[in-house]
């Protein structure tokens, strides 16, 4: 319904993008319940995305989005996969600083914790935190919940999740050799980790 030339139109928060009966609100847009209009909530370029023709639901309204490179810094939400650096390992949990949410790096500091029962999927009560993580490890984890006032709850209980990069005691980056072990290329010493399955 929109011609291509108008795709570059810049909108600012509060501008009307269309009627809720005609378009769906995507990112950077919202529907006001009192008058059923779709408004922009971001500054940026308006884009109309047509629904995939094979979409299962009956709703064939196009989605209107507002995109801009300067959207606010990403924040972790439940379900997002994050990269975090382990800062402290305790008997029952490890705390980590979240560095990336999905492909984007965060602008501000967010803390997360991996509890003992969230390290792996099986035999969760036999997990030894010190044989799973070491301070300084880079971990890929899933945000379980917003957690408490202090930290987000993270989980590594999947094959693809866990330590992706770690340094050995001698300072070299270790090579994963199994899902529980990593080896130092210099000293051939083996250390225990909850290793993530990367690639393949």
């Amino acid at each position: 319904m929109e011609e291509a030339g108008r795709e570059k139109e810049v909108v600012t928060p509060g501008e009307v993008l269309g009627k809720a009966s005609d378009v769906r609100a995507g990112r950077g847009a919202y529907v006001a319940p009192h008058n059923n209009l779709v408004y922009a909530s971001l500054t940026g370029f308006r884009r109309i995305v047509s629904p995939p023709p094979d979409s299962p639901d009956q709703d064939q309204r196009p989605t209107v989005e507002v995109t801009h490179h300067k959207a606010h810094g990403v924040i972790p939400e439940p379900g997002s996969v994050v990269l975090a650096r382990v800062t402290k390992v305790m008997a029952k949990m490890a705390s980590a600083d979240i560095m990336c949410v999905g492909p984007k790096s965060v602008r501000e500091k967010f803390t997360g914790i991996i509890r003992q029962q969230d390290v792996r999927a099986t035999e969760i009560d036999k997990v030894d935190m010190h044989l799973s993580f070491r301070a300084g490890d880079i971990v890929r984890a899933l945000v379980l919940s917003l957690g408490d006032a202090r930290a987000y709850y993270l989980s590594t209980a999947q094959n693809e999740l866990g330590v992706v990069s770690a340094e050995s005691t001698s300072g070299a980056t270790m090579v994963p050799i199994s899902w529980t072990e990593m080896q130092c290329p210099l000293t051939a010493q083996i250390e225990h980790r909850k290793v993530a399955k990367v690639g393949g």
Binding site: T12, G28, Y30, A32, K70, E108, K109, A149
Partner: protein, 257 residues
């Protein structure tokens, strides 16, 4: 009066809603008020906005209304302080401060706390707080020079800075204040007029949704006068919002090129 809206986006003047021109009747000398900067009663000061004034902030804006100059920076959303209770919606933290040279008397003024809480109330309703649970957005406003109507400049400027930071908002927030001097309603008062005012009316609104987020009135007002004052302010707000929008659009298009 300044030019028609649209032709000259940096000055604006609301037209009277009723359409008839008001001829103030000056019965006694006190009422005969000539504005110090020679504006019409219903004419705002020239407004100037610019986004991206502070590089380290997530978003920032600078605003200048006559002599009133403010700078607002927005940080976050970032992790709430440890002492805070868990909340499933975002928090807004506002702080207004003055430079020591903002006022004619050095380092004077003590109602920042009040301003901070008013800024908070004005913005809170416009931000979609649900989009950043558990985190805080900090808004720091600094009044570089105080030239009257400081708070409403701060509010408008802060909403621009929030938009610049990419915080999801229901609408921009525009704010305009008005003084009642004798029988006259004077829009966008300067410092001198503020100190003589009999009453003031400040409106903060979301112009495109046509909703008032904050309204405060001091002094004695009759209902018709409130009507007139509100109409004038709302008119001015929507014009102010146009300037703010054009500023944002300009910034976005230039950054894209």
């Amino acid at each position: 009066m300044a030019g028609k809206p649209g032709t000259n986006p940096t000055t604006y003047s609301p037209s009277m809603a009723t359409g008839k021109t008001r001829t103030p009747i000056f019965k006694d000398h006190d009422v005969d008020w000539v504005r110090p900067d020679g504006r019409g009663f219903h004419q705002c000061r020239p407004a100037f906005f610019r986004t991206g004034a502070v590089n380290s902030a997530s978003g920032s804006a600078y605003a200048e209304f006559g002599n009133t100059k403010v700078i607002v920076s927005v940080f976050g959303p970032r992790e709430s302080k440890k002492a805070m209770m868990y909340s499933d919606i975002g928090r807004l933290n506002c702080n207004v401060s003055y430079t020591t040279f903002a006022t004619p008397v050095r380092g004077q003024g003590s109602d920042y706390k009040e301003f901070s809480s008013m800024l908070h109330k004005a913005l809170e309703g416009a931000i979609i707080l649900e989009t950043f649970p558990k985190t805080t957005v900090d808004v720091f406003a600094l009044v570089l020079e105080s030239g009257g109507s400081d708070l409403h400049v701060v509010i408008s400027c802060a909403s621009l800075a929030l938009a610049d930071a990419g915080i999801l908002m229901y609408d921009l927030v525009a704010s305009v204040s008005l003084s009642s001097l004798g029988k006259n309603l004077v829009i966008d008062p300067v410092l001198e007029e503020e100190s003589y005012q009999d009453g003031s009316l400040t409106i903060t609104c979301m112009p495109s949704r046509y909703e008032v987020t904050q309204l405060s009135i001091t002094g004695e007002w009759s209902t018709p006068k409130i009507n007139e004052g509100m109409q004038l302010c709302l008119d001015a707000c929507s014009k102010l919002a146009k300037i703010m929008r054009s500023c944002l659009k300009e910034a976005t298009s230039t950054s894209q090129e």
